[in-house]
């Protein structure tokens, strides 16, 4: 067994036994939902339905229902798309990269982070689909022979690279998530009574793929996990790099800059960790997992937020500096306009929420406070939405021809679809929290004797 230094804080509190972990993780699935769950679920569902109506209206009448115009021909749709894809990234980092780094603290949060990834990518995927105008022809983005109706796809376009990157990402994430779930589904199967809930038992038995917990099963499980982590790690980089190339391959000042790929990846991790915190700080309370999702987990995530936020900040400053240093007047104007033009307020929100407020995490008292973390995580979510809005809209709204300079204002349909995806996301997450084992309990049990509070005290 691995040695663990005494100065490391325990990752499982409250002197839990193996059986306690099983019971705690199974409880939300086996029990009834409380009042808060129903309130949150109803609200999310309403928002979701509202979003569906707005989407239906868009498809029925066309993209003209949005606030786009000839100059700003890309706005909230792509902002929301990038925002949701970015949020997904933390899940992949936690499940894949932290697995390769053998970080034990990932075990309490990886399941939910991966769920968040998948639900986030689902929201992101909606936007290109709606934007097509005729979503029933969506298969035209696939490279299929001409007799199926489309012309051969344009391989030079980063938008097509996106199709490949994101579908690969979604499939690897789903498989990775599912493989991890198998032993935990088996745990639920074994606990279900065949007389009281035969349907549920059958369902979980089907989902568990006949897992028996044999040594051979575990050996294969670990091998597959490592291989999938190896596959998913490059995806952490590639997906958001390719998203950034949607902009950076162009010649639009403010879009074409070489730092975009790594800077988008860092921004994505930054926003993703913030969303993990927003979700888990609520979830640990609602389904009583305080002993597993501890302040130490939150502190580690806050350190990552501080790191990625500061690096994103240095990227902002680098961009500003290089715009000046380049001597290209279009570049210089694009950034001057971004910071001091009519959208200065969006730039100010972005700078405040992404660069300044995360610096509060230098103080231990703030990064070890659930309340402060929750508030700051919302700040990051807002800031990262505005970052994409700033990049996209401020670079477009004053194009090379001053006669076509204009502003963008969203219609209620734009707002409705965005809120609808938030509703959809929370609907999925809340349903997940009642039907899935939200903590990878089988994996977590492997660290109980090295990182559990009882065993730490005994040493």
């Amino acid at each position: 067994m691995q040695k663990e230094a005494e100065i490391r804080d325990p990752l499982i509190l409250g002197n839990k036994t193996y059986h306690d972990i099983t019971v705690d993780v199974a409880r939300p699935v086996e029990g009834k939902a409380n009042k808060y769950w129903w309130i949150l679920f109803s609200l999310s569902l309403l928002l979701f339905i509202w979003g569906v109506l707005c989407i239906a209206y868009t498809i029925g009448t066309g993209i003209g229902a949005w606030g786009l115009n000839k100059t700003v021909n890309w706005a909230w749709d792509i902002t929301n798309f990038v925002w949701w894809i970015g949020i997904g990234h933390a899940g992949t980092l936690i499940s894949a990269v932290l697995l390769l780094f053998r970080q034990k603290w990932r075990m309490a949060i990886n399941r939910s982070a991966e769920a968040m990834t998948i639900f986030g990518v689902v929201q992101a995927g909606l936007f290109p689909l709606i934007h097509m105008g005729r979503p029933w022809l969506a298969y035209w983005v696939l490279p299929i022979p001409n007799q199926f109706g489309s012309l051969w796809v344009n391989f030079n376009s980063p938008l097509l690279w996106d199709v490949f990157a994101i579908s690969t990402y979604l499939s690897v994430s789903v498989v990775f998530w599912y493989i991890g779930l198998i032993p935990d589904f088996a745990m639920l199967r074994d606990r279900m009574s065949s007389t009281l809930s035969p349907m549920k038992k059958k369902l979980y038995a089907f989902l568990a793929f006949g897992w028996s917990g044999r040594a051979k099963h575990w050996q294969r499980f670990e091998e597959v996990s490592l291989v999938l982590a190896g596959l998913a790690t490059p995806l952490v980089f590639s997906v958001h790099s390719i998203v950034s190339m949607d902009f950076a391959t162009s010649v639009i000042p403010g879009w074409h800059t070489t730092i975009f790929p790594p800077y988008f990846v860092l921004g994505a991790l930054f926003s993703g960790f913030a969303m993990v915190e927003t979700l888990l700080i609520i979830m640990r309370k609602v389904v009583n997992l305080e002993a597993y999702i501890t302040i130490k987990h939150v502190e580690y995530m806050n350190v990552i937020i501080l790191l990625t936020g500061s690096l994103v900040g240095t990227a902002y400053i680098t961009e500003l500096f290089m715009a000046w240093y380049s001597g290209v007047e279009f570049e210089q104007y694009a950034f001057l306009n971004r910071a001091t033009g009519p959208y200065w307020w969006a730039y100010a929100i972005m700078m405040t929420c992404n660069v300044l407020t995360p610096q509060l995490y230098w103080f231990r008292s703030i990064r070890t406070s659930f309340v402060a973390t929750f508030i700051l995580s919302i700040f990051v979510n807002i800031g990262m939405w505005f970052e994409r809005f700033v990049i996209i809209v401020t670079s477009l709204h004053r194009d090379f021809l001053p006669t076509s300079w204009t502003m963008f204002s969203p219609t209620f349909i734009d707002i409705g679809i965005y809120l609808g995806t938030i509703g959809f996301f929370f609907t999925l997450f809340l349903m997940y929290a009642r039907t899935f084992p939200v903590i990878a309990q089988a994996e977590l049990k492997t660290i109980l004797k090295s990182s559990g509070s009882e065993f730490k005290n005994k040493k």
């Binding site: 230094a5 010649v251 074409h256 975009f260 790594p262």
Partner: protein, 394 residues
């Protein structure tokens, strides 16, 4: 305690003599070509030694346990930081004194509208690119890096004699400050020393690209020293698991470097804006550089990804040594390409001066590192994660 054996001593001293001969030969036969050779070699070895400081700091802030048994190695590598800092400072002073022509923007009259050499774009950069501010910045970077290196080394020595985790927490906060300082200064230093050679050109990614290169060669160097000590019968607690972990870092950062290389190249190639693409045409349309340009990228990428992918490969010392040598050579070539086209135009070539100075600096780095290793016991004590490191299992 580690002692340098005679063979290693003779070897490093002969390398240094070759370096000295190359330096003298270079400056007598072709001073215009010798300065760039000196600069890119200094960039390469300064990168290795500053990366060692970064490595030590990274272990602190990440609360890493695996590397404690080998932490004397990066500490010794960073012993070479002062000397390479001085050489870099010397080159920069020589540049602003006009002893060389490395930096086009230092050219007489280039920022003076009345002069025939006037260049409007370069003149626009004057608030940043002027001799006074330039040398002040260089001094700040180098002083800061050396300060943190000294501080981290002394904390590590102090920890051996103390109890409790007080020194350890001091190490964490020093490292955190270093990280902040280094995040800003490593980028700026790369703009100043390297990017401003091609004065018109600019790339926002350049700083991170240079950082990735320093990381790749830094991890490789730390690995090679660790393995050398192990083979000489020292570092008994270092086993194949530690070697495996170092192998992972070499693999990972070779790929991070490739990722940065690709991001920078592809975006500029794709957009094809004349101001930006000129940087690559200066490399790709000159016969001296074209081959090296693709060759250095390919070996830096293909050798690690093909030969170090599997678990067994990272536990195979022969394989690791081979790939390490290839990577060091590949990045050395790439460093040459960062400097030569902008300074020597189409006339650059790799000859005795370039290789000789490179070998001489290698001798210097090895000698200083081995010498620093003799100063302190290789076994550390009292580090809170020491037991984790001794019992590492991956």
């Amino acid at each position: 305690m580690f002692t340098i054996d005679q063979k290693a001593k003779k070897f490093t001293i002969s390398l240094m003599i070759i370096g000295l001969i190359a330096l003298i030969y270079g400056f007598i036969s072709n001073p215009h070509g010798a300065w760039p050779a000196l600069l890119f070699n200094t960039y390469f070895y300064l990168g290795i030694s500053i990366f060692a400081v970064f490595f030590v700091a990274l272990q602190y802030v990440a609360e890493a346990g695996w590397s404690i048994v080998l932490k004397r190695v990066p500490e010794a590598v960073m012993g070479a930081l002062p000397i390479f800092s001085l050489i870099m400072l010397f080159i920069m002073i020589a540049s602003i004194m006009h002893w060389n022509h490395i930096y086009h923007w230092l050219h007489e009259g280039i920022m003076d509208p009345a002069n025939e050499h006037y260049d409007k774009i370069i003149a626009g950069k004057e608030p940043y690119l002027n001799a006074t501010f330039f040398i002040i910045r260089t001094i700040i970077y180098l002083l800061g890096w050396n300060y943190f290196a000294k501080k981290l080394r002394s904390l590590s020595i102090l920890e051996d004699q103390s109890v409790g985790s007080k020194i350890h927490s001091m190490g964490i906060s020093t490292s955190a400050w270093f990280m902040v300082f280094f995040a800003v200064t490593s980028s700026m230093a790369s703009w100043d020393w390297i990017m401003s050679i091609d004065t018109h050109w600019f790339s926002t990614l350049f700083g991170w690209y240079v950082f990735a290169e320093w990381s790749a060669i830094g991890f490789t160097t730390i690995f090679l020293f660790t393995l050398y000590l192990k083979r000489m019968g020292y570092l008994n607690h270092v086993n194949e698991n530690h070697i495996h972990d170092l192998g992972k870092w070499i693999f990972a950062f070779s790929l991070v470097w490739t990722y940065m290389w690709f991001s920078q190249f592809m975006l500029i190639w794709y957009a094809n804006i004349p101001e930006e693409v000129a940087y690559f045409t200066a490399r790709l349309e000159v016969d001296n550089y074209k081959f090296l340009f693709w060759f250095s990228m390919l070996i830096n990428f293909l050798f690690p990804i093909i030969l170090l992918m599997s678990r067994d490969a990272k536990r195979n010392n022969t394989r690791l040594i081979f790939v390490s040598c290839v990577i060091l050579f590949g990045h050395w070539l790439n460093s040459y390409l960062l400097v030569a086209p902008g300074t020597l135009n189409t006339h650059g070539h790799i000859g005795f001066t370039e290789i000789g100075i490179g070998l001489g600096f290698a001798g210097l780095l090895i000698y200083i590192t081995l010498n620093a290793l003799t100063k302190q016991p290789l076994e550390t004590k009292n580090h809170p994660f020491l037991d984790e490191s001794k019992n590492l299992h991956t």
